[in-house]
């Protein structure tokens, strides 16, 4: 099975120590987390983790099951890049005189849709958002023009065919889940995802 990028989306309780418990699951298996983002989710008081790793589907599926075993994790989903809308954000600090005096810099910033956040006499901070390759290309280009500081955020991603977590949360809040709840979705497609 081929390794590829997977986006893992977790819905969790917002409790102290969750990041540690989640990251332990990866580090114990010597799996590198490419990016990790935590944020509120569409559901009130529910936290959303977005984790990117480069692994086979078999490994990712097993990881998700281990993650779901954590008492304070409600649900773990994993998706390929085709199945999510995703982006990352980046901030660039460049000397203001370079921006004003060098025409290619202006063209570059336009091409990548970067916009100025702060303009000072000594430096200007630009931000842009997009896929990793776009951000990396702009970073490479700006490096030639005295890029002072650069930072890129973790990936955030929306799952294309997700209906959001509101309905699911209601099911979880039921002490005795209704008969039609089908938690065991892995069972339905295990033939497709397993390899030894």
């Amino acid at each position: 099975m081929e390794k590829q990028e997977y986006t893992i989306t977790l819905y969790t309780e917002n409790s102290i120590g969750m990041i540690g418990r989640i990251s332990n699951i990866f580090s114990r298996r010597k799996i590198n987390i490419e990016s990790l983002n935590t944020s509120p989710s569409e559901a009130e008081a529910i936290h959303r983790f977005t984790i990117v790793i480069h692994e086979t589907e078999d490994v990712v599926r097993k990881l998700c099951r281990q993650i779901e075993k954590q008492v304070e994790v409600l649900k773990a989903y994993y998706n390929t890049n085709d199945e999510v809308i995703w982006q990352e954000q980046a901030l660039y600090k460049v000397p203001t005189d370079v921006v004003t005096e060098k025409a290619p810099v202006e063209r570059l910033l336009r091409r990548y849709g970067a916009s100025a956040v702060v303009i000072r006499s000594d430096y200007t901070v630009f931000e842009t958002a997009g896929h990793r390759e776009e951000i990396d290309a702009l970073t490479d280009a700006l490096t030639e023009y005295n890029l002072i500081e650069f930072v890129r955020s973790a990936r955030i991603a929306i799952i294309k065919d997700s209906e959001g977590f509101h309905k699911k949360l209601k099911e979880f809040e039921e002490a005795e889940p209704a008969g039609e709840v089908r938690e065991n979705r892995y069972l339905d497609k295990q033939d497709k995802v397993f390899s030894m």
Partner: protein, 583 residues
Amino acid sequence: MNTLEITKDNTQAPLKDDTQTTPLTGAQAVLEALIAEGVDTIFGYPGGAIMPIYDALYDYSEKIRHILVRHEQGSIHAAQGYARTSGRVGVVFATSGPGATNLVTGLADAMIDSNPVVCITGQVFAHLLGTDAFQETDVINITAPITKWNYQVTDACEIPTALAKAFHVARTGRPGPVLIDITKNAQVQSFDYPGYQICNHIRSYRPKPIVRREYVQQAAELINSAKKPFILFGQGVIIGKAEAEFKAFIEKAGIPAAATVMGLSALETDHPLHVGMLGMHGNYAPNVLTNDCDVLIAIGMRFDDRVTGRLDKYAKQAKVVHLDIDPAEIDKNVKTTVAVWGDCKETLPLLTELVEQREHKEWLARFRALEQEEIKEVIHDELNPTSDIMTMGEAIRVINELTGGDAVVVTDVGQHQMVACRYAKFSKSKSSVTSGGLGTMGFGLPAAIGAWYGAPDRTVVAVIGDGGIQMTIQEFGTIMQFGAKVKILVLNNEFLGMVRQWQQLFHDRRYSFVNITSPDFVTVAKGYGIPGRSISDRKDLKQAMQEMIDYDGSYFLEVMVGKENNVFPMVPQGSSVSEIRLK
């Protein structure tokens, strides 16, 4: 979790007028919680950061028993032993810093063997957290990977809900250890105690999945179509209290069944369909025929590598049905054809209803034929040796003869463990207590103490090696002070036997630091007020063992056994189960 509303100044938000409350300290609330959960025994050791809880315990000593161990590792192994024989949650008290870190081995052991244990550790005052205060350690982060759940309480108002959640998480689903770390300020803080509410639902936690009948149906069809079905059962049957349901299932379907180490005693050893133990030192027939069966039915077990041997040559010919409560176990190691996710107490009766009444006589006869081969090559000589030197196996045989399989057999880890697991007879469930997954030397003695408190009317025999006993021998003191009637049987081969066996077989007999000397154990035991004797002559064995079992109290018996005896059969590491060696 429904947490109480906490205001900024660390007091509880005003309660409604109609609510009756009593002022309590956090420490008292801990003990009220334990009493509400029906806890009768605590294994613990006091220290600075848990002193308020021990102070409160002073007033509760009529209602709850506290066993003062000699080392915190002993407390958690005792709690595990208690949980294993009683089927209830074991409870541990320990202080901060070294008290908490001494629990780590036991937590890891309880985690991998699914033992329900709640540990309550003291912690430094909340304002000192992170300051490298005296006896401060980051116990929450240290124990996160080896607890099912853990939580740090810094305000007394959190105690009732945190403990209710702890007990719920520890005992439900696939059980496991939970640690609650309580800062000293929370222990001394007074608050309006709202009463204790048992927790039975946490929205983010689904311990008991809904059984999907279509998979039970598919499993039944597969089983009904099988010519050579074979059942592997693990501790899940015991944890699920599904021994009767399990027996009904195998008897109707007429399928031979083999136990994992952790599953021992779920089915009585003499049952006609019980075909022995699986694994590296398991029985010959179940290992060989794993690679011959057509449908493999795994119930409450997790395909540990000691069970499967080489995975890519494990039961490749078979369709696999896996019943387990933990979805993470399904397909983790062995690809499942049909997975029945659920509590086997629920799934087994559904399956029994759908399977056809069968007798697989010829198939069962093949197990019995291979068993005869094993008896001839290994078992007979191990249990009835002709040389003057005693074997571990004959000591276990004598226990069987004298107790009729009614004893609780607790083991440590190593050769004696495998021999005890292979040869001990069990007539009822919850009779085998051993460190299966973690393989913790030093587990045996403290676990046996806890096992006795969990089943005080039963004979508890702790079978321990000369190496393992020296790891936790201080727990003799606990026996001395509190009187657990544990029968301590040390099988002394003057070696760290299992490592020596591997060095002999796989490292050209290069015996590297396996030659371990022992003190005069009988004198040590005597120093702790435990009577005992040491025997090295077969003619004394039965009588000494009888004396040990009949003695009203703890008794120590050392049996000197062959120094370089090996445990066979054996599936060498990296080999397939069907390549099991008889010698």
